[in-house]
Each structure stands twice: as structure tokens, then as C-alpha cells.
């Protein structure tokens, strides 16, 4: 393979693999012998030495891995530690309210109520420490049960779960009647 192209291929492989790749495997892909392959990696590696490059190739016992240069560490920490702005979207809030009032509850039950998948919202709420896993339901598939956390109680100024306002069956009946009236109206027209 053409040298420049071989460099590109090795760069692409080391990038996408992330982990270390043996020299012989790289040689197979670029269809060169190991010696030539090592020379090509050396050339590629030398180019990475330039000051405008943030990555490098390290050799580990005949295998190669792409990594960031040591002096980049402080910047990586900086970006990882930058505070992220969290916002509770409507979806996340709805999911939270369902979990608060119906806990312990499974994903499936939440999805039934909302009519759409809730994976993203549930994960977000766990990340924010507003809900947590409570255990598993003793049912086929043993689905996870979710409930609110202490952080939730703290943030919403609730002393305990008993403090949550109840949605009683009377209210449910009201909703049902309203719905029926609306249907009746439509039929009468």
C-alpha cells in the first residue's frame, strides 16, 4: 500500500479501536510486512511530535495505542470538570411526577402512562440523583423498580413520602366523568 495511505489507515484504526493493537494485525490490514509496518508507524509517530498535535502513539510490547500527550492532561480535566447546566425538560418533569406519585414503579408502567419511551428521562433523573432503583419487581423479566431519593425530598421540601399530596380515587372518577361528558357532547352534535 502507498505509504501515505498506510499512515492514514493506521491512524484511523488506532483512533477507532481506542485500545492497543498488535503490530502484526496492522501489518495484515495494510498488507505489508511487520518491518515496513513498524517503519510506517514510526513516521506517523514522528509527525505527531509536532506542537500542534494533541495526540501521540505509544508502543506497548509490540502493540500500538493512540493516546493524548501528557501535557494535555490539565485541559482534559478542565473540560471534564466544567459544570454542566442542567435543565428539567417537560419530559423529565412528567416522568418525575409519575415516579413520585406511583412509586415503586417500573419503566414499563411509566411508558404505559406517558405513551412513549422514558429511558432517557429515567437515566437523566438517576444522574441528577432525584430517583433511584429500589429493587426488582417479582414478575417476568424481573424489571427494575424506581422511586424518589432523599435529594428529591430535600429539593421539593417534602418531609417524607406520606407528605406527597394524594391523588385519590374520587379525583379519578371526576376525570372519567369529564371524559364521558365530552364524548357524549360529540355524539349529540
Amino acid at each position: 500500500m502507498d505509504r501515505l495511505k498506510a499512515e492514514a489507515v493506521i491512524e484511523a484504526i488506532l483512533f477507532t479501536m481506542g485500545e492497543s493493537v498488535e503490530g502484526s494485525r496492522l501489518a495484515d490490514v495494510i498488507e505489508e510486512d511487520l518491518k515496513t509496518t513498524k517503519e510506517i508507524i514510526k513516521e506517523l509517530s514522528d509527525k505527531y511530535e509536532k506542537e500542534n498535535r494533541g495526540i501521540a502513539i505509544i508502543e506497548l510490547d509490540g502493540a500500538y495505542q493512540m493516546c493524548t500527550k501528557g501535557e494535555m492532561y490539565e485541559f482534559l480535566i478542565k473540560i471534564a470538570k466544567a459544570p454542566r447546566k442542567y435543565v428539567l425538560t417537560e419530559t423529565v418533569l412528567e416522568t418525575l411526577s409519575i415516579i413520585a406519585y406511583k412509586q415503586p414503579i417500573t419503566r414499563l408502567e411509566i411508558e404505559k402512562i406517558r405513551g412513549v419511551s422514558c429511558d432517557h428521562a429515567v437515566n437523566k433523573l438517576i444522574e441528577l440523583d432525584l430517583i433511584k432503583e429500589l429493587g426488582r419487581l417479582d414478575a417476568p423479566g424481573r424489571p427494575l423498580l424506581f422511586g424518589t431519593t432523599e435529594q428529591f425530598l430535600r429539593s421539593f421540601g417534602v418531609k417524607s413520602l406520606e407528605d406527597l399530596p394524594e391523588l385519590n380515587s374520587e379525583q379519578l372518577e371526576d376525570f372519567k366523568e369529564q371524559a364521558e361528558e365530552e364524548i357524549q357532547l360529540k355524539l349529540d352534535i
Binding site: L76, R84, S97, A100, F156
Partner: protein, 246 residues
């Protein structure tokens, strides 16, 4: 012997219509409704689908085509600007819009095939960086949200869920055959005719109890009229209808 024809699968009634328009090489702006309706009905007659949902969607379009066919026969409707309205125009607009998105979906598919060749990589953050979580500022996150607002949200979700349930159909449990059969009503009405000779439609209906009975009786009258067993006469609109044996 009829050769079994492998029917193409269509993505819906509009897809089927576009196929027919294409096959017949006709102008989408000037659809010969009679021809298309016939072919459309032929197609769904041959459709072997057990899925009632899919079938019903095709039937809705069939009804729309028949409706357009009827309206084409009637004097042209005139809109507010006094222009004649083509009963087909709404369907044409729908077909064009659908055709555009169908076309775009092929364009997108090409892009998907190109982009599938790009490979990414997982994050390779040092452990301590990866595990770092910036503390969440709950005051900022929760803002003016409080328990009663959360409760409002929950109530509105529950209400929406209730709205979705059709209180009438949800009580059906399962669908059963109607207790009023066409055959039974037919023989009843025939007896009634032979006994009365000439009678008022209203009087006949008054003897029926329940909505289903009224509907089936009405259908029986229509059928008898079609086959020429009875004559009906109505002197003025909303007047009683007088039925006589033919």
C-alpha cells in the same frame, strides 16, 4: 387457471395510489377518478391482510375515492371566490405532499449509507476524570418548582390518560354479533307489508325498540325498495314517508 399475482406491498393508501398513477402514466393533477377507483378497489379486494388496522386505512381511502367519484358526477361546487372546485384537488395536494416526503426519504437513505462508513470511538478519559461529577446546583435546577406544581403535572398526565380511553368502547369488553339480524327484520317487515299494504314509515319505526332495530329496519326498507318490492313516496321534505307494496 388464474395465475397468482404477487402483490406489491404498499406503505399505505397514498403509496398505492401513487403506484396506480405511475402505472397508468396519468397526470397527478388530472386523475381519471373512475379508472383509479376501480383499480384501487380491485387491489384491496386481492389484499390478503389479517391486520384490521392496515385494512381499515385502505378502506378509508376507498371511501374517499368513491366520495370524489360521486362529487364528480354532481354539479361543480363553488368556493367563496366563486371558482369551481375540483373534488380531486385535496387528494392531489395530499398525494403531492406525500410524494415529496417519499422522495426525500430516498435522499436521506443515500446519506445514511455514506455516513454509516464513519466510525467513532468511545471516550477514553482517565478514570479520575471520568468519575468526576460536578455537583448539581439543585436550587438552580428546581427553581420555582414545588410539590404542588409537580402534583399539577401529575394530575394533567392522569387526565390525559383518561381522555385517551374511549369510555364507550372500553366498556365493550369484546365485540359480539348484533342481536338484530337483517334476515329476521326482513321477514318481520315482509309480514308487516303483507298485513298492511300501505303504511307510514314513521309508524313502522315506532314499533322498533332500540337504535339498532331502527337502523336495521331502515336498511331493510332500502333493500326492499332496491329490489322493487315496495314503492315509497314522500310529498315534502321531512314529511312522513308512505310505503306501498309494488
Amino acid at each position: 387457471m388464474a395465475i397468482p399475482v404477487k402483490l406489491e406491498v404498499f406503505e399505505g393508501p397514498l403509496d398505492l395510489l401513487l403506484h396506480l398513477i405511475d402505472k397508468n402514466k396519468i397526470d397527478i393533477y388530472d386523475i381519471p377518478i373512475v379508472v383509479i377507483t376501480e383499480q384501487y378497489l380491485d387491489y384491496i379486494k386481492n389484499m390478503k391482510t389479517d391486520d384490521m388496522n392496515i385494512m381499515s386505512e385502505f378502506l378509508v381511502m376507498a371511501a374517499t375515492l368513491l366520495d370524489i367519484k360521486c362529487r364528480m358526477l354532481l354539479p361543480k361546487e363553488v368556493n367563496e371566490e366563486g371558482e369551481e372546485e375540483d373534488p380531486r384537488s385535496e387528494l392531489v395536494q395530499k398525494l403531492l405532499e406525500y410524494k415529496i416526503y417519499k422522495y426525500m426519504s430516498f435522499e436521506l437513505k443515500d446519506r445514511l449509507l455514506d455516513s454509516e462508513k464513519l466510525l467513532f470511538k468511545r471516550a477514553t478519559l482517565p478514570k479520575e476524570v471520568e468519575n468526576y461529577r460536578h455537583p448539581v446546583d439543585y436550587d438552580e435546577l428546581i427553581q420555582d418548582l414545588n410539590l404542588s406544581k409537580l402534583h399539577e403535572i401529575f394530575k394533567s398526565i392522569v387526565k390525559k390518560q383518561e381522555d385517551k380511553i374511549d369510555p364507550i368502547r372500553s366498556k365493550f369488553g369484546k365485540l359480539e354479533k348484533d342481536e338484530v339480524s337483517m334476515e329476521q327484520k326482513m321477514s318481520y317487515v315482509e309480514q308487516y307489508i303483507s298485513k298492511n299494504g300501505r303504511f307510514s314509515f314513521r309508524a313502522l319505526l315506532e314499533k322498533q325498540c332500540g337504535k339498532m332495530e331502527v337502523i336495521v329496519t331502515f336498511l331493510v326498507i332500502l333493500e326492499l325498495m332496491k329490489v322493487g318490492r315496495i314503492h315509497i313516496q314522500q310529498d315534502d321534505i321531512f314529511e312522513d314517508i308512505i310505503i306501498t307494496t309494488a
